[in-house]
């Protein structure tokens, strides 16, 4: 095989090795992290049931203190109560719904009208979907592979077959 072919096959081998190595390290790290959100973004509905405003006026909690979402989720608030409710930038008249897109990661406390504490905690996490982990493995694996390949040339130089022996 010529020098060119030998080099390309060597580099290809190490690029594949690099990606496999990066994917392996990434997956192990992911498993060790434990429970994290790894679902795709979707529309999540939050329903404010009938009678919430009366219970809240008496200091009772009707809805949970907050919720965890994934970047790209759409939060849809459905108001089945008899008075207008608000959550952060949303105003939801009785019998209607309003939505907002959650596209920034972070923990936010929105002012709301359906909690005695007047605040609702929204935590938006970065989704670690399989697709994302694959992308990361490729981005890290490619340069790693090229690096390993170039180093391998020092450790074990290429020996292409030549027809004429070197003088």
């Amino acid at each position: 095989m010529s020098l060119r072919t030998a080099l390309i096959s060597r580099m290809l081998f190490f690029v594949v090795l690099g990606v496999v190595l990066a994917a392996f390290i990434s997956e192990v790290a992911f498993r060790l992290q434990g429970d994290t959100t790894s679902r795709d973004p979707q529309t999540i509905q939050l329903v404010i049931p009938r009678g919430t405003s009366e219970k809240v006026a008496q200091g009772q909690n009707v809805l949970p203190a907050g919720q965890v979402f994934v970047v790209g989720d759409v939060l849809q608030v459905k108001n089945e109560d008899s008075v207008t409710q608000t959550l952060g930038p949303l105003v939801i008249p009785p019998g209607s719904s309003a939505s907002m897109k959650l596209d920034k990661a972070g923990e936010m406390n929105y002012t709301c009208s359906f909690q005695p504490s007047q605040s609702y905690g929204i935590e938006v996490q970065q989704a670690l979907t399989f697709g994302m982990r694959l992308q990361a493995s490729l981005l890290a694996g490619l340069p790693l592979g090229v690096l390993l390949g170039v180093y391998s040339l020092v450790v074990k130089p290429l020996k292409p077959n030549t027809q004429s022996p070197s003088a």
Binding site: V83, T84, V91, P93, S96, S97, A98, S99, S113
Partner: protein, 194 residues
């Protein structure tokens, strides 16, 4: 070295141009809405209040126009003048279309905001803007219907903008405006039928 890659490159450019302008044309025919849509739209709470000229004004008087309702107070130093300023800019930008809109300021501080005060305040913005007040007993149900929290000194705790359509339904709300582009674009699109 031949000319084929050059030709391919130029063809790709044409494809990119077509795709770009196709996408832009599609987006302009189906524009995004910058406010927060209420689905399904609900009949906006019909109020009957007193304007800055002393006459009685009902929400139903504005059927056929898009109404923008804001709850504020004249002694507000931050959010209210900011919002009214943006609404004035929007009004100017809409030009002739502005005749199909109506901006209404409903006070959250009836003790200090008399019709005269409202008139003086709104003259800083636009003569078409309407300021409404009434007694505390009449205003409180309006505040709670629109989800407005009013503190003891008349300050509003929330600063939403409410959009009512020509049929009297509440169709969208806006949080505190940070620029005039979104709301102007929305009204332009609505008024041209998109």
């Amino acid at each position: 070295m031949n000319r084929k890659p050059l030709v391919i490159a130029m063809l790709l450019l044409v494809v990119v141009l077509i795709a770009t302008f196709g996408y832009t044309w599609y987006k302009s025919a189906h524009p995004a809405f910058s406010g927060s849509l209420i689905s399904p739209p609900q009949a906006a709470y019909a109020f009957s209040l007193t304007s800055q000229t002393g006459s009685t004004v009902n929400l139903s008087d504005f059927r056929g126009k898009y109404v923008l309702i804001f709850f504020g107070y004249t002694n507000c130093t931050s959010e209210c003048p900011l919002t009214m300023g943006y609404l004035k800019q929007m009004h100017d930008r809409l030009g002739l279309l502005a005749d199909q809109t109506q901006v209404i300021l409903i006070t959250s501080d009836p003790a200090r905001d008399t019709p005269g005060e409202l008139g003086a305040y709104l003259s800083n913005f636009d003569p078409s803007f309407m300021g409404l007040t009434s007694s505390l007993a009449v205003l409180q149900p309006v505040w709670s219907a629109y989800g407005v929290t009013v503190l003891d000194d008349g300050e509003t705790h929330t600063s939403y903008l409410y959009l009512v359509d020509p049929q009297g339904d509440l169709i969208a709300t806006y949080p505190l405006l940070s620029n005039v582009d979104g709301i102007t674009a929305d009204l332009e699109n609505l008024l041209s039928g998109k």
